[in-house]
Symmetry: D2
Subunit: 509 residues, 4 copies
Amino acid sequence: MRTVVPDGPSGRLPEAWRFCVGTGRFDLALRRDYQDSLALVQREIGFRHIRGHGLLSDGAGVHRPYEHGGARRVRHSFTYVDQVIDAYLDLGIRPFVELGFMPSGLASGDQTVFWWQGNVTPPASWREWAELVRATVAHLVDRYGLDEVRTWPIEVWNEPNLKDFWQDADRDAYHRLYEVSAYAVKEVDAGLQVGGPAISPGSDEWMVRFAEFAVERGVPVDFVSRHAYTSGPAQHVPFGVHQTLAPASGLLEQFATPRRQLAGTPLADVPVHITEFNSSYRPDNPIHDTAFHAAYLAPVLAAGGELADSFSYWTFCDVFEEVGIPAAPFHGGFGLLTHRQIKKPTYHLYAFMARMGEDLLARGEDHLVTRDAAGRVTVLAWAPADVTGGPAVDGHTVRLSVPIGNASSAFELRSSVSEEHGNAWAAWCEMGRPLSPRSGQLDVLREAAEPARTHRGVPVFGGRADLDLTLGRHEVTLVELTPVVDETPPWWDERRLLGLEPGPGGEGR
Amino acid sequence: MRTVVPDGPSGRLPEAWRFCVGTGRFDLALRRDYQDSLALVQREIGFRHIRGHGLLSDGAGVHRPYEHGGARRVRHSFTYVDQVIDAYLDLGIRPFVELGFMPSGLASGDQTVFWWQGNVTPPASWREWAELVRATVAHLVDRYGLDEVRTWPIEVWNEPNLKDFWQDADRDAYHRLYEVSAYAVKEVDAGLQVGGPAISPGSDEWMVRFAEFAVERGVPVDFVSRHAYTSGPAQHVPFGVHQTLAPASGLLEQFATPRRQLAGTPLADVPVHITEFNSSYRPDNPIHDTAFHAAYLAPVLAAGGELADSFSYWTFCDVFEEVGIPAAPFHGGFGLLTHRQIKKPTYHLYAFMARMGEDLLARGEDHLVTRDAAGRVTVLAWAPADVTGGPAVDGHTVRLSVPIGNASSAFELRSSVSEEHGNAWAAWCEMGRPLSPRSGQLDVLREAAEPARTHRGVPVFGGRADLDLTLGRHEVTLVELTPVVDETPPWWDERRLLGLEPGPGGEGR
Amino acid sequence: MRTVVPDGPSGRLPEAWRFCVGTGRFDLALRRDYQDSLALVQREIGFRHIRGHGLLSDGAGVHRPYEHGGARRVRHSFTYVDQVIDAYLDLGIRPFVELGFMPSGLASGDQTVFWWQGNVTPPASWREWAELVRATVAHLVDRYGLDEVRTWPIEVWNEPNLKDFWQDADRDAYHRLYEVSAYAVKEVDAGLQVGGPAISPGSDEWMVRFAEFAVERGVPVDFVSRHAYTSGPAQHVPFGVHQTLAPASGLLEQFATPRRQLAGTPLADVPVHITEFNSSYRPDNPIHDTAFHAAYLAPVLAAGGELADSFSYWTFCDVFEEVGIPAAPFHGGFGLLTHRQIKKPTYHLYAFMARMGEDLLARGEDHLVTRDAAGRVTVLAWAPADVTGGPAVDGHTVRLSVPIGNASSAFELRSSVSEEHGNAWAAWCEMGRPLSPRSGQLDVLREAAEPARTHRGVPVFGGRADLDLTLGRHEVTLVELTPVVDETPPWWDERRLLGLEPGPGGEGR
Amino acid sequence: MRTVVPDGPSGRLPEAWRFCVGTGRFDLALRRDYQDSLALVQREIGFRHIRGHGLLSDGAGVHRPYEHGGARRVRHSFTYVDQVIDAYLDLGIRPFVELGFMPSGLASGDQTVFWWQGNVTPPASWREWAELVRATVAHLVDRYGLDEVRTWPIEVWNEPNLKDFWQDADRDAYHRLYEVSAYAVKEVDAGLQVGGPAISPGSDEWMVRFAEFAVERGVPVDFVSRHAYTSGPAQHVPFGVHQTLAPASGLLEQFATPRRQLAGTPLADVPVHITEFNSSYRPDNPIHDTAFHAAYLAPVLAAGGELADSFSYWTFCDVFEEVGIPAAPFHGGFGLLTHRQIKKPTYHLYAFMARMGEDLLARGEDHLVTRDAAGRVTVLAWAPADVTGGPAVDGHTVRLSVPIGNASSAFELRSSVSEEHGNAWAAWCEMGRPLSPRSGQLDVLREAAEPARTHRGVPVFGGRADLDLTLGRHEVTLVELTPVVDETPPWWDERRLLGLEPGPGGEGR
C-alpha cells in the first residue's frame, strides 16, 4: 500500500524539537572541545536555547563572600558567566537559564550531587539567595539587554522531587525556593519569564501541587517544566551501566502529561517545556552511542512538537562529568557528539530534522513529510526500534506518493544512518575499542560517522513521484526531492563523451 | 584465482605521481577560489611542486620598460610574483618554474596563444631576455634563499614544437632560447636546475635533437621534460569538445619515451619530468569530470613512477582560462576540483594515492598494494575503463590474500568512487545541469562528491586476510586494513545493550 | 577660545560617507588579496555598498555569443558574477551596480580604455544590449531575491562625458543607452532603482541635459550620479604622476552641484550619489599614500553628508590595474589599503568615522563631535592641509568643552595619525622604499601603520570635560570620552602596590 | 658617556628565557580561553616547553580504580591528557612534565592544596604509584614517539620542601617518591630525562641533600630544579594581597644557587632548570599587572641565561585557579595575559626578547644588544625599577654607539611599554576598574595594551649609529635597527608631491 501524501500542508512543523538542547555543567562551556562541538551543532542543527546545571555552583564563581571592615559581604562575580554567555551568543544560541545549585558559601548543608559536587541544600539565608538571583539576572540584563534576556526562560532548580538533587526532596522548601526566586527575577523586570518545577519522571503529583501552590499564592509562573526518560534500573558494570528501555511512545506520553494535568487550571495555557529528555538518564549507558538510538527517537522528534512547546535533548555533546571524566571515546555519554566531534547516529537524526521544510505535509508511524518555501519536499523515514530484543528488522519498507509540482523530474538526495552506515560506534568496536584513539583513528571515526548518501533522478507523473524506500536495520533516512529545472543544452549527447559518434566538424592538433 | 600479496616489500612506492601538478596561468594564483582549492588539495593530497604558464607574461607584470633621461630602461617588478609564491610556500607547495611566455614589451611579434593572449614570439632582444631571466631568478634566490630555490626545477618555455606556442615551431630559435636562458639561470647560481624542451606529444624527434644540441654545445641540462596526452581531434560543440581517447597505456608509453630515447647518451641519467599529462589536452572536454576518468587514470598513477621521475596532472583545479571563462560549473575543465571546490572522481584517485603506504607490496593490472610504517596495508583497485565504448563492466572482481601480521583481526575501511558514488558530475546532470547553482545546490554537489565509505572487521588467519572486492562501473576503490589491538574489556557483553540480561546488581532511581 | 559643544544633538550624523566605496574592476574581486582587504575594511569601517567598473566587460565573462544550428545565440554566464557577489554579501557589503563596459562580442568598435582594455563603444545591437541588461538583472533577482536587489542602485555606464570612456563622448548615444538600459531594468521589476549619468567633473551641463532628456521622454530616473576630483593635469614621472590639488572645499562644492542644478525640476528630490570622489583621479599619484591626504579629506567626510546622499571613496584598496600592475607597494594607488593590507592614513580617517556616534553634537572647521546611545562622546579633529605648499602647521590646537553627563570623570582614548604616527608610507620611505618588501618588512609596515594611542582619566565638572588638543603636522585625531562608573573597591590603596604600607595582617610562606 | 657596542659577538644569546613557561593546572588547558592565549603567546613569543601542576590529580582523570571480579583494578585513562598534549604540540610547545599531585584513589591521606584541592599526601601504595608513572610515561611514548618524549624533561613533584605541597615536608618520603618515580620513568626508556627536587626558595639545603641522596644510592638524575621568588609575606585585602619585593638581583642569585651548590659534586654538569620564577608567588598580587613589573624583570631576562639552563615564568596566562576563580579582569594574576588576551607589560618584555637576534653583542645594567643573521641590530633597554618606593625615574637615558655595517642609514623601529604606553592596567584603572568589562571595553583594553611604536631613519657614520634613548617611568623599550638598502628611484623629488614644481610634461584630463 502506498501512502498518498497530500499536496497541501496540514500546518507548520513545530520547532519544539530544536527550541532547546541540554549541556553539561556551566563551566564546562569554557572548554574548547565543548565550543568546537557547539559550533558544529549550531552549523548543522541550529538549536535556539541551551540549558544545563551549575550556573550558581562554585565552579562558575558567582557567589563570593568576603570580609571587609569586620562584616561579611558578597561580591557577585561574572568572570566565567560572561565568557560562557558571550560564547553562546556568538554561536547563535541563547541560554535557557537554570537557577542552581547552591554555592557552598550560601549552603545550609554539605550534601552534594555528582562527581563535581553540586551542593543541593537550601540556602542558609533566603535573603542572600534572593540577592544572588537578583544580581545575576540584573547583570545579564545589563550586559545583554532587556529585549534579549526576556527571550531566555529562567527555571528554578533541577529535579527537586529527587533526594539526590534537593535535600530530602522537600516540596515545601522547593515551593519557597521557587517563590523567592521568582520574585527576585521579577524585581529586575516583570517581563522576564520564570518557571518550574523541573521535575524528573515518577513524581507527576508535584506538577499538580506546584500549580496549586502558585495559583493559591499568586506566585508568577510563565512556564512549567518537567523531564522525560524511559530507562529502567541501572545494571552496573565497570565504567558503565545497562538498562532496559520502555518503548519510545513512553516519552511522548511524558511530554503530554503537563498539558493534561494543567487543563482547566489557571496555568492551562502556559508553555510546557520538557527541559530534559533522553532514553536513559545515565551518562554511561552505551545505548546512547548506537544506531538503535536514532531509530528509537525518530518518532519522538517527529511527533513531540504537538504535545509540548519544547523537548530538550540531554545533551548536545559528551563534554560532561556527572559520573566523572569519561575514560573512553565511546562511553555511553548523552552527547550527540563524542569528545572531539565524532557524530553519533542521533546527531544525524537531528541534522536530518534541521533539513526538513516549514510546511507539514504528512506524519505517519514511520515517516514525516514536509515541504519548504522553494518547493523541496523532504521525507524522514525510520525503521522500527524494538526495545524487547526481538530480531531487528532489516528491510522495512516505506512507500509514498509525494507531490512534486510541475517539473517532469525531481532530484533525489538520500542520506542514511543505520547499523551499517553513519555509525562510528560500530567502527570503533571493529577497531578494537581503543581507549585512546590516535589522530589517524579519530579521522577514520569521523569519516565512518558520515551518513551514506545516494542521489538519482526521479520521474514525476501527474505532479507526483513514487518513493519506495527499503530501510536497513535501525536505519533513519532523509530523502530530499527537488523539482528539476532542466538547463541541458540541445546539443548535449551523452553518447559522444568518448568521441565515438563524431559530429560534423573535427579539429587537428 | 586469488593473488597472494607478498609480505615483504619489493621496494618503495615512487613519489613521481605527486612530485608536481599543473595549474592555470600564473596570475590566476592570486584568486581566492584558486587558493582555497590549492589549500584543500594540499591538505588531502600534498603535491610537492606546481607548474603553469605565464610567469613572464604581461599578467604577472614582471617586465616593465620605461623611459627616463631619454633612455629605455626596464624595471623588473615582482608585486604579483611575490604574492603568488609566498602563497605557494604557505600552502606547502613549491614552484616548478616555467620561463614564458614573452612579455609584450620584449616580443619580436604579436602572435599570441589562448584567450588570455600569451605572446609566443622570440625576444626582440636576446640580451634583455637574458637579463629578465637572470633578474627573476636572482630575485627568487634573494627572497626565498638559495637552498630553497635549488629545489625548484626551471623549465624553458612550453611546447615549442607547436606553432601555437612558439612562432613557426622554430627549433633552432628554441635551442637559442634554451641556451640563453640556461646560462642566465646558471649565472645566478650553478647549482640551480634548468631543463627542457617541454615538448608536446607528436614530435618525439625534438627530444633527440635537443639532447644532441645540448651535448654538442655543452649547454647545461639538469633534466629533460615532455608532455603526454591521449586524445584525438576535437569535435566541437558550443562551449566544449568531444574526442576519442587512446588506451591509458598510451600515457605510460609516452612517459617511458625520454629514457628510451636518451639511453646511451650523456643525458641518459638526467631526471625525466612529464611536466603535463592528462587524457584530453582540451580544457572543455567533459570526460575530465567523469567517473570513467578516474578509472582510466588509475593504472597510470599506479605504474607511472617506474618510467619517469614525475608526471604532473594538468591541472589541479578549474580556475583556468585558456579557452575563456568557464560558463558552467562542470564544463570539462582539467581540474581535480571545479570552481568552488567540488571534488571530481579523479580528485579522489589522487587522494587515495595519498593514503598509500611507503612500501610497495604488489602491483597488478587492476590493483596496487602498499604498507606503511605502522603496519597499515592499503589496496588501490580499479575497474577497467574501456575507451572503445564497449558496455562498461559492472562487477569486476579483485581477489587478494593480504599479509596483516600477528593480529587476529583487521579493521577495514573502504572508500570508493564510481558511476554511483563520489560522482558530483552525475548528480549535477540529474539536477538538470544548472549553469549557476545556488548555494544549497553547491552544498549538495559537495556532499555527492564524497566517496562511499564502508567499514568492517576482517578475520585474519595465518597472518593473512582475504579480500574479495567487487567493483561497480568505473569504480576506483581504496581499502585500508589496520591490524586490530583489542582493548575490549572482559565485562563487555553486547547482548546486554538493551538491559535484557541483567547482571547481578541493579540500581534504583 | 573654547568651543562649547551643546549637550543636545542637532540631528543625526548622516551615513553618506559610508554608503558606498569604490573598487577596481569587477573580476579583481575574485582575488584573495582583494577579499582579505575588503574583510578588514568591513570589520573596521563597514561600508554599505561597493561600486566598480567592468561587470559586463570580457573579464567577467557574462556575454557569450556562440553559434548553434547555424544561428548566432548568446549565453549569459554568471560563473564569476556569482562568485563575486556571493563574496560581497558574505562580507556584509552590497553591490552598487554599474552597467558597463561593452562586451567585445557586442561592441560596435574597438576603442578601449585602461590597461585592461574595457571596450567603450556603443552596442552593435541595442536589442542584444537590452537583453544582456535584462538577463543580468533578472539573474541577480533570481539568485539574491527581489527584496535584496531593490536595495542595489543600478547606474548606467561611467563618465560618458569623457571621450576615453564613451566613444566620442556622444551625449545622444548615452541618452539612448540610458533609456534602453533603464527600461531593461524596469522590465525585470519596476521597484528596482536605476540612475545616471555618472559624469566626471568638468561637464556639469551634462546633468542638466540628462534631466531634461529624462523628463521630456518620461524615462525612469531613481537617482542621479556624478564624480568629484580636485587634481590638476598629470605631470608624469616613471611609474607615477604629480598633480596640483584644489582645496578640499572644492570637493564639497562638487558634491553640492547636482542638488543645486536639479532644484525646481521634477528630479529635485531624487537621491544624489557621488559615485566616485578622491583628490587625484590618478591611481599612481603618491599623494594618496600620505598623512596629508587624511587631513585633506577629513573636513569632506565630516560635512559631505549634508550635500549629497552618498560620496564614494575611490577606492577601498590598491588591487587595481587601470594603468597596469602596481610595481611597488606604495605607488600612489587610490586604496585605503595597499596590497597585503597595509593601512594608509586615509584608512584611519574612515575607521575613525566608523567610531563616531549617531547623534551630531557639533561640527566646526577642524572638528566634528558626536555621541552614541551609550553616552560615549566622540571628537574627530584635524590639522589644516595646505595645498599651496606653505609650511605645514605643527601644533594646531582645538579647544572644546564637551558634555559628559553625571559621571565625575571620563575615560579618554585618543587615536591619531599624522606625519609621525600611523604613517606606513613614511616608514617605507625610511626603509629605502623597497619595491618588494620581505615578510618581516611587511610586518613592520603594518605595525607602523597603526595609530598612536593614548588614554587618561579626564575630570568632569558640571557635567563637562575640557579638551585641549594639540595636533601635529597633518594629524587627524579621534578622541573617545566614556563616562566612568567607578567600581574601585574601598580597600584599594595604590601606595600599597609594593607592600610598603603594610596593613594589619601578614602571611608567612 | 656613550657605550660602544662591539661589532663582533661575544657569544650566542642563551635561550634559557624561553625554554619553558608556567601554566595553571593541567585540565585548565582544555579551555578555549587558555588555548587562545597560548596560541597568541606562541605566535609572538614562542616558548619551547610548558610546565604546570595536576597531571595526575583527579581533574585530569588518569588514575581510575574500579572493581571487577571481586578485585581492585586500575584503568589508566588519557582522555584529557591526550586532548591537552595534542593541543600543546599543535601550538608548537612541548610538555615539561611534572609528576603530581596524588590521585585521591591512591592517596594515603586527605590533605589538599589550593582551591582546586590537589592531594599532597604520599601514595597509599608505592607499587601502584610506580605503575601509574610507568603507564603514563609509556602512554606518552606510545602516542607521541620516543624521540619526541625524550625531549620532555620529567620532574618529580612540586615544592616538597613546603608542608602545603607535601605532607609534613618529609624529605625522606620525597626521596623515596623520587627514587620510585625515576626508576618507573627509566623502565620505559633509559633515555628519558628525570629530575627534581623542584624546591621553593628558602630551603636551599634540600638541593644538597637531594644530590647526596641521589649520588649515594645511584638514583638517576638528569637535571635538577628549583624555584625563585622575591616577595615578602602577604598582606591580605579582599581578593588580593600586597607584598614587599626584594630587588630583582635576588632572582639572579637564586638562579645561580644550584650550580654553585653542585659544583664539585657528580651532579655538577647536569642542567639546572628554574622551573618557576616570578616576583610574587601569589596569584592575586596586582604588581604582576603593572609596568613596574616589566622593568623589574627586564634585567633578569637579559642575564638569567648565564646562570641556569632555563627559568620558567610562572605563568603565561591568568587562566588559573589556585586561590579560586578570578573575580576581576585585572586581579594580580601571574599571567602574561589576562583572561581574554589583554597583554600585560611583562608580556611585551617577553615579546621584545623574542625579537632579539642570536648573536650577543653587549649586555649592561640597563641594556642588552644583539644582532641577527640578516644584520638587524636589536637593543633592549629598561628604566630602573625601585622596590623601595623611591620616586620612579622618568627620563633615564641609555646612550649607545651601535655597529650597523656598510649602509649609509638604518631604519629604526622603537617599541615601548611604560606607565604611559602598553599599559592596559592603567587604562582599566582610569575606566573605573570594571569587574565585568563589556565587549567594547575589552577592545579598548586590547588597544591600550599595545606598545607605543615610533620609527625613523638613522644616519650611519663609520659603520655606526648613535642611539640616545630617553626612557619614561618603568619603560622597557626595544629598538630594532635595520641597515637600509636604498631603492629610491633617481626621479623621486619629495617637493613635487603637491605638484608644485612641475616637471617638463603635463597631461590634460
